[in-house]
């Protein structure tokens, strides 16, 4: 199955969720360091109107992508999930989006802020895992 983590305006939250999904034992400080290095290597703003990149594979054999653009998450989710369903691809791709809009400078969060963000990320990843399980069971 393909899982696409989506965040609005910055790929940071989606990237952190992808990391957390692939490596459940990852700690926040370590995740931030690695995310900064990943962004440096893979992300260059400008050009396309959206950012989509393959991140890796989870232990369950799912392929993880991350995606980001200016479109509000819930709005995009509604359209894309509808379209995937119509084309019969609903069981192959899962779009996991952060419902809240985060306006932060991700690289320079305080450690308290990182912990708070990490809890939101963990929650989204957990929810996504449950959804994947349900889809696979069906």
């Amino acid at each position: 199955m393909i899982i696409v983590y989506y965040s609005r305006n910055s790929p940071w939250p989606a990237l952190l969720a992808s990391m957390r999904h692939c490596r459940p034992a990852l700690l926040p400080e370590q995740a931030w360091r690695e995310a900064a290095a990943w962004m440096k290597a893979n992300y260059c703003p400008g050009g396309q109107s959206y950012f989509l990149k393959r991140f890796g594979e989870s232990s369950g054999g799912d392929t993880i992508y991350l995606m980001s653009s200016v479109v509000p998450a819930l709005f995009l989710k509604r359209t894309l999930n509808g379209l995937l369903e119509l084309t019969g691809s609903g069981g192959q791709v899962l779009l996991a989006a952060f419902p809240l809009y985060w306006k932060r400078r991700w690289e320079y969060c305080s450690s308290g802020r990182k912990r708070a963000c990490w809890m939101e990320i963990e929650a989204l990843v957990e929810r996504t895992r449950l959804q994947v399980e349900l889809v696979k069971r069906r």
Partner: protein, 155 residues
């Protein structure tokens, strides 16, 4: 093929274009105002429904027709939809999106704002309808252009 008519709110210009395509609105004459106002979905979808694909019907060629409101993020949505479909499905399903946003005129915007945002449908709705009628030939042209060559609209 899935055919999606897309505009700002998915409730005025895209609705009219979709129903022209489906043959529910005339092509040889200008429709009456009441014909426009009586269309399903016309001036109906609220802000909460933006992003939802509304089914309009099936044309004689067997294409399913949908209406979509994408605010001013139409291009981004089209790009991301194409990218996800490419990931998900092989072969890529045929989906065409017709951007009606360039045909949303000032009276339609104004009428839509009065009707949808201010809730004054008695004033806003007829204004939108007239705005559509004033621009009907251009919307018809857009639909016919798509019918002649759908390739540029395919995702």
């Amino acid at each position: 093929m899935i055919v999606i008519f897309q505009c700002f709110g998915g409730t005025h210009t895209s609705v009219v274009a979709a129903f022209i395509y489906l043959g529910r609105l005339p092509r040889t004459r200008q429709p009456r105002l009441d014909e426009i106002l009586a269309l399903p979905y016309f001036d109906r979808a609220g802000r909460a429904e933006v992003g939802t694909l509304h089914y309009a019907g099936r044309n004689p060629g067997g294409n399913s027709v949908f209406i979509l409101g994408s605010r001013h993020w139409g291009a981004e949505v089209r790009g991301q939809a194409a990218a996800l479909l490419r990931l998900a499905a092989s072969p890529m399903p045929k989906v065409a999106v017709i951007d009606c946003l360039p045909h949303v005129t000032l009276p339609v915007r104004l009428g839509g704002y009065i009707s949808q945002r201010l809730g004054l449908t008695a004033i806003g709705r007829p204004l939108v309808g007239r705005g559509i009628l004033w621009n009907y030939s251009r919307i018809l042209e857009l639909v016919e252009l798509f019918e002649r060559d759908p390739t540029p609209n395919l995702l």
